[in-house]
């Protein structure tokens, strides 16, 4: 964020830089948009950036519960859009990261109650005060999706290495249009299955989608545990998945981090193998 | 007598609605039922892909609604089963390309020649969900034992209650070893929270991904553990009292030494 200039120079001080508004979308539900938004937001905040997370899933809010903030949410996006409360009153400070705030979705309302133009204006306001505004997009390509992308200037698409997910991302990229140059995160990779030819590899997915790859995250049971507790995995540094989020955050911030595909060492492939349910090797 | 019309829904995406619709439909067809599967996810269709029928699509749901073809022309018969057909969604249209009334009429028509019409509902609770539910007289709610999925399922249960639809629950992607270590909610926990009748418990199984890749429902594999489970669910749907496979080891010794009971 821009530093305050000394009084004498205030007339010529540059306007504060607008933060980046990034929508996290996928088309297919359940691939990890909310988890990614929460963890990426946490990772960026841990680096000192001021981050606002916006839950655009009206009626099916979950960003609050993934962050462990569900008991602290008093007001939501619609309250702000309808001028019932100020933006400041609605923003919930994160429990774990100092520079992270949440703007929750309304639970008892419907997606068609959101005014698209007002949503755009609200995202703009957030950009004036935060380095990053991450918007958690709902599943699907209906009105919820449209309202989530309206205030964003960048997009991250999340895809799992499964045919339906890849197909949906392809559709979504088409709908995002030329305004966005979406970047891809491949989530829930199971390297052991890829090795056995039972799951699409990163290369397979990339060959179909042909998007710039932002990161690859392996499927880790820890994610379920951390969601149970409401403590995003990116708060830690002892997990491959947490480190993947940190690497992605660094890339987003413009750092030149080593190539993302795959972020997974051989030893990890064997270690991860023992966690997976169902048939064992 | 017209067939049963059941919507398979969840609220949360990615919990296994499409996979369940496909496999349950296949399991019912294997038992001799006439089954029609309807993909209500206009714009993000996947039922065809999961069944490996994507190359055989000629007409879709929206074209039927617009009167550009007959229902029977759009239905794709799955050659691997005696009596399974699917009505694919449109891929390049929006969910508002069809009204609730139109959808309901198509489902009713399909039900005239079938024992079961299973409707694959899109994620969410928007227009696509409303359309899908409009066509149904019963519901199957699918959830995983995870916090967000259960919360969304709860919302959907509320909406289905408002419409007076009888509903039953499938808990999908259970990982018994994680339940045992206290790292995942148990089926009992989920049932207690959602308080609707349990229809089936499906453990997490890596094989499902592979079968989806190949477009071959897991029910086709006579050795597959999940095939047996989907068959049990089909039987329960038919009214048979089938005991649930026990995945949760109970008690202190269960926690220490509990072995996975075979499916």
């Amino acid at each position: 964020m821009a530093m305050h200039q000394p009084l004498a120079q205030e007339v010529t001080a540059p306007a504060p830089k607008l933060g980046r508004a990034i929508v996290v979308t996928s088309g297919k539900g359940g691939v990890g948009k909310t988890t990614t938004t929460a963890n990426l937001g946490t990772a960026l905040a841990q680096r000192g950036a001021k981050v606002a997370l916006v839950d655009a899933d009206v009626g099916l809010r979950n960003l609050d519960i993934v962050l462990g903030l569900e008991s602290r949410v008093k007001y939501h996006v619609l309250d702000v859009l309808e001028d019932k409360v100020s933006l400041d009153e609605a923003l919930v400070p994160d429990k774990h990261s100092e520079t992270l705030v949440l703007l929750a979705a309304a639970q008892a309302r419907e997606k068609d109650e959101v005014d698209t133009e007002k949503m755009r204006a609200l995202m703009q306001r957030l950009r004036e005060h935060y380095d990053y505004v991450l918007i958690d997009c709902p599943a699907g390509i209906e009105l919820g999706f449209k309202n989530a992308i309206v205030g964003a200037d960048e997009a991250i698409v999340v895809c799992t290495p499964e045919v339906s997910a890849v197909r949906d991302v392809d559709r979504v990229v088409g709908l995002l249009g030329n305004r966005f140059k979406p970047q891809l995160i491949i989530n829930r990779l199971r390297p052991q299955l890829v090795k056995k030819g039972k799951m699409l590899s990163v290369e397979d997915v990339n060959a179909i989608l042909r998007l710039p790859l932002l990161g690859v995250i392996a499927d880790e049971p820890e994610i379920i545990i951390t969601t149970n507790k409401g403590e995003p995995l990116a708060l830690r540094h002892d997990s491959e998945t947490a480190n993947a989020y940190h690497a992605i955050a660094a890339r987003i911030a413009g750092e030149d981090v080593a190539a993302p595909a795959p972020e997974l060492k051989e030893s990890l492939i064997d270690k991860l193998g023992s966690f997976f349910g169902g048939k064992r090797a | 007598m017209a067939g049963r019309r059941i919507v398979v829904t969840s609220g949360k995406g990615g919990v296994g609605k499409t996979t369940t619709t496909a496999n349950l439909g296949a399991a019912l067809a294997k038992r001799g039922m006439r089954v029609v599967l309807v993909d209500a996810d206009i714009g993000l269709r996947n039922l065809d892909l999961v069944l490996g029928l994507e190359k055989r699509i000629v007409f879709d749901l929206v074209e039927v609604a617009e009167g550009r073809c007959q229902l029977r022309q759009a239905l794709i018969k799955d050659k691997r089963f005696e009596s399974l057909a699917i009505l694919p969604a449109a891929q390049t249209r929006d969910k508002d390309a069809i009204t609730e009334t139109q959808f309901e009429a198509i489902v009713a028509q399909a039900a005239e020649q079938a024992d079961y019409v299973l409707i694959d509902c899109p994620a969410g609770i928007e227009g696509g969900f409303r359309n899908a539910v409009a066509g149904a007289k019963e519901a199957i709610v699918v959830t995983t034992p995870e916090v967000s999925a259960i919360r969304d399922a709860d919302r959907v249960v509320g909406k289905l209650n408002d419409r007076g639809l009888p509903m039953r629950l499938i808990v999908n992607r259970l990982r018994p070893e994680m339940v045992r270590t206290g790292d995942m909610l148990s089926v009992e926990d989920v049932c207690e929270i959602l308080a609707i009748e349990l229809l089936g418990i499906i453990p997490d199984d890596a094989e499902v991904i592979d079968t989806t890749n190949r477009g071959e429902p897991i029910v086709l594999d006579p050795n597959a553990r999940l095939g047996v489970i989907y068959d049990k669910i089909a039987r329960r749907l038919e009214g048979e009292m089938v005991p649930f496979t026990s995945f949760d080891a109970q008690g202190f010794f269960g926690k220490l030494f509990g072995a996975l009971k075979a499916g």
């Binding site: 569900e70 149970n228 507790k229 409401g230 | 916090v147 919360r151 709860d154 206290g182």
Partner: protein, 120 residues
């Protein structure tokens, strides 16, 4: 290893934490979805309290507060007046008996129960 042992002997597991959090969040979600229930609750509450004290119906406020582990309803009910409590009722008059002082109870003997005046 310690985590594993803790789980067997019952520290809070992540699943028990999840269950508790879900329970609370669903209560809040259900309340948010039923504003008419809240109105009815408020009205019934006022009716009940009004049986004892006079309240300012228009200024009654009912809110729900969430803390990390609990959901509570907080009602602010302004009381306008409290009637003077009724005088206590007269103690019942006990008619005198003819048997004199009450029989003394001895430990091992049954107490006298016969009233010589009325014994047949």
């Amino acid at each position: 290893m310690i985590d594993w042992v803790k789980k067997i002997f019952g520290g809070p597991t992540s699943s028990s934490t999840a269950k508790e959090r879900l329970r609370l969040v669903l209560m809040t979600d259900h309340l948010a979805l039923a504003p008419d229930i809240i109105e009815n609750m408020k009205r019934d509450l006022i009716d009940v309290i009004s049986r004892y004290v006079e309240v300012d119906r228009d200024k009654v406020e009912v809110n729900f507060e969430r803390e990390d582990r609990a959901l509570a309803m907080l009602a602010n009910i302004p009381i306008v007046s409290v009637n003077r409590p009724n005088p206590p009722p007269e103690p019942p008059r006990v008619p005198p008996t003819l048997s004199g002082p009450p029989p003394r109870r001895r430990r091992r003997k049954k107490p006298q129960t016969q009233n010589p005046a009325t014994a047949h």
